[in-house]
Subunit: 164 residues, 2 copies
């Protein structure tokens, strides 16, 4: 079955924009460039992830994919997410519970910061993270992956509260 030009629009989802090379087109090229195949399922999963702007866990993506195609299975979704990461089209970080949370690389790279006291969540954009990554590099020589960065600690107000 052909699926190359299928632009699957899910209920309540925005159509994938097509600047001069849509995500699907670039993905198809990258996948086939490795001797792999472009399938309906991969198309759908990429569309769902694109429509989930922001973050989405594997389970959430499975649910949304299955809403559009009930015959799709978790294994296919997770394997496709791994593929998208390998190809550099997606990345993940680990939420508070350690579960992987995905987003497309089109989203600006950013890290996460979670307060263990009040649960506050902060996103660290590249500019904010720069000094942190620089410190890591200075101390260890490692180039830390900002998209994967997920810090836990105490926010200023929880610190103040703790200090009596």
């Amino acid at each position: 079955m052909h699926c190359n030009k299928v632009s699957r629009i899910l209920p309540g989802m925005k159509p994938t924009p097509d600047p001069q090379g849509s995500l699907a087109t670039r993905l198809q090229a990258a996948v086939q460039g490795r001797g792999q195949r472009w399938t309906e399922q991969r198309q759908l999963i990429a569309d769902v992830l694109a429509a989930s702007d922001g973050h989405a866990t594997g389970a959430e993506l499975v649910e949304r994919v299955r809403a559009a195609d009930p015959s799709a299975t978790p294994s296919t979704v997770y394997r496709t997410l791994d593929l998208l990461e390998e190809l550099g089209f997606a990345s993940h970080h680990h939420g508070v519970d350690g579960r992987e949370t995905y987003h497309l690389e089109e989203v600006l790279a950013h890290g996460h910061l979670h307060c263990q006291g009040c649960g506050a969540e902060v996103e660290l954009d590249a500019a904010a993270a720069k000094p942190i990554l620089a410190a890591i590099e200075r101390v260890t020589g490692y180039a830390a992956d900002l998209d994967h960065l997920s810090l836990q600690g105490r926010c200023p107000s929880c610190r103040a509260a703790a200090a009596r």
Copy 2:
């Protein structure tokens, strides 16, 4: 059944040392101080964790606990690990796969650094981490939890390899 003074020694494990307040004794006091109860299972789980110097995942601890007491169940082990953390006697970080990895607070606080290229693992002791935590605090105001810190990135040699 009494278990207060039971010092359960597992095959191949070192007896819990008893400086002037053994771990078990301090734990029992902390638990009972909250109106909770000191049980055989908690004793055993604490002993197993103490004997697992270094890191151990939940599943590993479950396995070791069940080796000593086959009637123990995963739910009890995980609930006890949560309790030990609440009481400040243990902490966890997330391994590469996001799974929680536990250690007793007696182990010196340290963070983790993992190379996504070659899989190298580095431990960051408090001194090494200091500038990193300082940068996080400067930028965000957060006091990051060193024990929970788990960074991913590229080690120097993988970076060099990537740069042609």
